[in-house]
Amino acid sequence: MSYQANFRVWRGDSSGGGLEPYQVEVNEGEVVLDIVHRLQATQAPDLAVRWNCKAGKCGSCSAEVNGRPRLLCMTRMSTLPPDEPVTITPMRTFPVLRDLVTDVSFNYTKAREVPSFVPPQGLKPGEYRMAQEDVNRSQEFRKCIECFLCQNTCHVVRDHEENKPAFSGPRFLMRVAELDMHPLDAAAEEGLDRKRSAQEEHGLGMCNITKCCTEVCPEHIKITDNALIPLKERAVDRKYDPLVWLGSVIKRRK
């Protein structure tokens, strides 16, 4: 079944812009990215949109559909009300380049600030052996396709531009958690305390665990429950827990 749907697409660049109305044909089974492509082909050949795989695996077509951060290629038209205009805008946390394309370099900057995996002493690449149950947690986080929808929806930076220098965002706090849970990461032996850096350098305390990152993740990673809260708990171990403190005192005496 085909029908004509009304769309409002944000057109412009960093100097200004606005929502422009279009009427586009929609066919059964299509996703919003199909409509954007039809729009480019028939009415707006200069419409800028970033896309690649059309399969929800490259993380390129992140945008906002009816105000909700979504992958354009994974948002079925059948999930949207057919009698209401569909609003498509770029992600509103990052500087816009043109139309639906944003400058996501904030994320690459933050990625570089996370110290990478520290290889264990005495093991060469190829000699690493890990039990599956030890890497399950980290493997969940490795599903991340870096669409940056979690970064986009996180109110800490979305609503407070001034927090960007101090806060790495859910994606990169999840990266810290992944490494801190990694069975072979030797950061601690090299004097790198990932729990301390999560708190003091990546702004873990700014997260108020309102779970928007989890809600928007197209890979359904439980970012808050499995990465951010465990990381907060590890910080509590280090700084606030009375029993852990007592245990460490007793261990030191032995």
Binding site: R8, W10, R11, G12, S14, S15, G16, G17, G18, L19, E20, P21, E64, N66, G67, R68, P69, P81, E84, T87, T89, R92, T93, F94, P95, V96, T102, A131, E133, D134, T153, H155, V156, R158, D159, H160, E161, H182, P183, G205, M206, C207, N208, I209, T210, C212, E215, V216, D225, I229, P230, K232, E233, R234, V236, D237, K239, Y240, D241, P242
Partner: protein
């Protein structure tokens, strides 16, 4: 047709270099360089509904429990049942409970309701709980009101400063919550008696207290701190198979933490209401055997 052509104006703020003659730059989603969209959000669904329902539910419980905590002493016990708000009862002005947890540790100088001594622990546990934090940050503080809906605050420091840095003491409250749940379990065991104190009897109240304690344990054990303590803090699950199994079990409960938080909140209220109705003579407890 273009509905707007410039970033939204915010009088009194400095102007952007990109648009020196134009409007002043804004904050958040209206920051310079971001897509110029005047609306603070473009969501078309009923995003406010869950915020409103959460606020209503929490306020209803706070209102009810405040009334019961301050004025419920004389209807806190209806043999063999004790209200979970008044157990353990640690002041001398508690009603006599047959073999119950009425330990007058605070003596007779405490003249206020004894519920206030104990409720601070479950209250603190729930107040610092990761689920409730999300719930009340959204419902009462609009931080954020909903995902991708701009919050109204000019600045934000999260849980890095006093008083919200105190959320980190959730772990302490978890330890106390285990003790409180243990005492409520004792109360639920005592409920397998008749009003005369003979064992091997049960009434509807027994089932109410039983359901309540099952939900309280499920909520307490599904806590994120519990999940971390039993195994989450380990890096090598393979070296600790028992703790790994416990972590998996707690993880399954933890996935239902929100539902358990609400279910146990409601069950505590219902258990207290049941005891109140019995103690005030509204009806007598239907006995099962």
């Amino acid at each position: 047709m273009t509905t707007e052509t410039r970033p939204p104006q915010h009088p009194g703020e400095p102007q952007t270099p990109a648009d020196p003659s134009g409007p002043a730059p804004g904050r958040g989603v209206h920051s310079p360089g971001r897509a110029a969209i005047a609306a603070r959000h473009l969501r078309t669904d009923r995003w406010w509904l869950s915020q409103a329902v959460t606020a209503f539910g929490l306020l209803a419980f706070v209102g009810y429990s405040t009334w019961r905590a301050f004025f419920g002493l004389h209807t806190a016990y209806a043999a063999p049942y004790v209200s979970p708000f008044y157990s353990p009862c640690l002041a001398a002005n508690c009603p006599a409970m047959k073999s119950g947890a009425d330990w007058a540790l605070f003596g007779s100088w405490w003249q206020l309701s004894p519920a206030l001594i104990v409720l601070i622990f479950p209250l603190g546990f729930r107040l610092t709980c990761y689920y409730y934090r999300k719930a009340y940050y959204r419902a009462f503080w609009s931080s954020p009101p909903a995902c991708a809906v701009a919050e109204p605050h000019a600045s934000y420091s999260g849980e890095t400063r006093f008083p919200l840095v105190l959320q980190n003491i959730h772990r302490y409250f978890f330890y106390f919550a285990i003790v409180v749940a243990g005492i409520l379990t004792y109360d639920a065991v005592l409920a397998w008696r008749n009003p005369a104190g003979q064992w091997g009897h049960a009434g509807i109240g027994t089932l109410v207290l039983l359901a309540n304690i099952v939900l309280i344990w499920a909520y307490t054990l599904s806590c994120h701190s519990c999940r971390h303590i039993v195994g989450g803090r380990l890096r090598h699950f393979s070296k600790h198979p028992v703790r790994y199994r416990m972590w998996n079990l707690v993880g399954k409960l933890n996935a239902r933490h929100m539902q358990l938080a609400w279910a146990s909140l409601i069950s505590v209220g219902v258990a207290d209401l049941y005891v109140y109705l019995l103690a005030s003579g509204a009806f007598t407890d239907p006995r099962l055997f």
